[in-house]
Amino acid sequence: MAHLVPLLVAIPLAGGFLMPLVGRLTGRRRSAAALPILLAAGVLVLSVWLLLAADEPLTYWVGGWDFPVGISLVADGLSRLMAVVVATISLVALLFSIDYMARFTSPGLYYGLFLLMVAGMNGVVLSGDLFNMFVFIEVAGIASYALVAFGTESDELEASFKYLVLGTVASAFLLVGIALVYNVTGHLNWAKVGEAIQTAGGAPLPLQVAAAFFLMGFGLKAAMVPFHAWLPDAHPSAPAPISAMLSGVLIKASGVYALARFVFSVFDGDPALGWILVVLGVLSMVIGALMATGQDDFKRLLAYSSISQVGYVVLALGAAAVMRARGVSPTVVGLAVFGGLFHLANHAVFKALLFLCSGSVEYATGTRQLKDLGGIGTRMPVTGACLRVAALSISGVPPLNGFWSKLFIIVALVLGEMYVLAAVTAVVSFLTLMYYAKVQRYVLGGEPSERVTRAREAPLGMCAASVLLAVLCFGSSLMAVPAVRRRVLAPATEAVTAGVQAGRQGRTITVERDKAAPTDSRAAAVEPLRGGSPRPPRAAESLADGTAGAETRRAEPLARRAALDVGEAP
């Protein structure tokens, strides 16, 4: 059960390594998608199982190093929720890719990059180590740079270049932040860093500087205004399923999730950081929405809307941190976090759906200009219906999921006595409704142009993927139902609101070293710590006699083999 945690990374990784080889066998046939879809489905099943089966957070020490010298994987409620979101959207995007990507060459490379991006995101959301998180952010990031440019047209290459350059700047900032954190605390494990900060009674100045670097780095990855310059180019340029992945999950996994972890689990919901999140969130919300209103390009509009919607999540998290510090009742804090995370999951669903629909429309008509798309709903009934569901959902029309999450955020803000923020949120919701009404008017109503009358409904795979997500738009409203909520979102909320405590909860999985050692088992588990301890356990003694201390030991049976090997060597 606990071993599922590394498998969530290892499975897509293996698939990614294999795909360039498999792609050579399948050529450009659609069967190239079979292996990735199988693996993504497997990952989805595993992550859902992980979400539903275990109640307590798991800390999994990779390589069995329980002493915090190793890298830990942390699967608490938040990580599990993110893993499920990533797996869901990636499976649907892969289904969509079967037909959509038939127009592109080299499916082997495409699916390889796709799976590696998924592996990178799973790595990010499961990592318990700052540097490890950085490495997997890079995996996901580099895969996405390449995928944005996958069509190799000049605007795609330019968008990818811009994205890559800003992504690299973000990485450099993160690395500087990590260097400062390591210098000051001596740890890379975020739970330990959080503990050190708490012991010192708040972050000292060098760590505040580090926090600034982290904020800039993650802010760039999450495309918060004013770090958003790359997103409106990169997201529309990518192939539609990749746009869905980027907007739906990537900016959340390597941006918002990382920010939440960092602000809550490392800095214990520092109110100053909370205010910064609030400001970034409000700026993103308002500016994203205003920019989206003026767009004529369908996918660009969606990209700006992503900035705006992610702003909601960041605002909710920041407000929660502020309220927590102000001593507002934990229920309200929990409600704010709950609303934010709920909106995060919902946005993944409806934004992915919107991008997939835009992909279907572009596939059928060859254009992304809203003005040329009039009447497409009648020519493409399935896509049109899905588009309508998604647009209503993102505008917050009940009973679709977007309504509930926005409602929770606004209610939490009101209960937390942050009336101005609540008003801003409501106004931005109205703006969202406005520009999606525009989308609906152009795309679904109006006189069909010549281009549109020639359009036919998208192929089966693409429709199926869209319908799946449209169903999820209704289905994920269920997460507001108390029974489901307790199971799915409450542990995630708990993981955030617990702050630094989150790193200390739950079960630890590592190798029981030296099982044969006759001393008490707890001491054996601590074995790596006991460098200067007076006497090793007995099993080690016999070894030491035989080989003059010439080797280090591992678990007992292996140590015996080592003794044999070494016995012959000298």
Binding site: H3, P6, L7, A10, L13, A14, F17, L18, P20, L21, R24, Y60, W61, V62, G63, G64, I509, T510, V511, E512, A550, E551, T552, R553, R554, A555, L558, A559, R561, A562, D565, V566, A569, P570
Partner: protein
């Protein structure tokens, strides 16, 4: 690209073997001396790149093709992942399940030499492949093509 002058070719003949050998040494002894899979892999890629630069396109087409590089790339990565997954044999993911052995010997430090080997193959093949694709004899398409070809015949 035709390759370079006979002087370069002869010197490359002499040196390339040593470079590749040195790369292999760095890969295999990474856990004992400075170096390791990445460094050795980059050296391997550099040695092969030298051969291709000296002997030209035909060599790369017949002996060390792009395809070979791609396959070796995937294989190396899978080998490393295999080491990681086999760690379950020792308890958890990535356990160094082999005996530590004698300090300073080639066969010591458990799985580290195997991991180094996988990384070495992966990095060597991957970077060499990228080098071939990027720099050695790229057939260009589109706007800049003619000019690029003319310039290439100069170099």
């Amino acid at each position: 690209m035709q390759g370079m002058s006979p002087i370069v070719k002869n010197i490359t003949r002499l040196v390339a073997g040593f470079i590749v050998l040195f790369g292999a040494y760095i890969v295999l002894y990474g856990h004992v001396t400075p170096g390791g899979g990445f460094t050795g892999g980059v050296i391997l890629a550099g040695g092969l790149a030298l051969v291709v630069l000296a002997f030209g396109e035909a060599f790369a087409r017949n002996v060390l093709t792009h395809e070979v590089a791609k396959v070796a790339d995937s294989m190396g990565a899978l080998l490393f992942l295999l080491v990681a997954v086999l760690g379950f044999a020792g308890g958890v993911f990535f356990t160094n399940f082999l005996p530590a052995g004698t300090l300073g010997h080639l066969v010591s430090a458990g799985t580290i030499p195997i991991a180094n080997l996988g990384i070495g193959i992966k990095v060597g093949a991957g970077l060499f492949g990228a080098f071939l694709a990027l720099a050695a004899f790229r057939r260009t398409t589109g706007a800049g093509q003619e000019r690029a070809d003319v310039l290439q015949s100069h170099s």
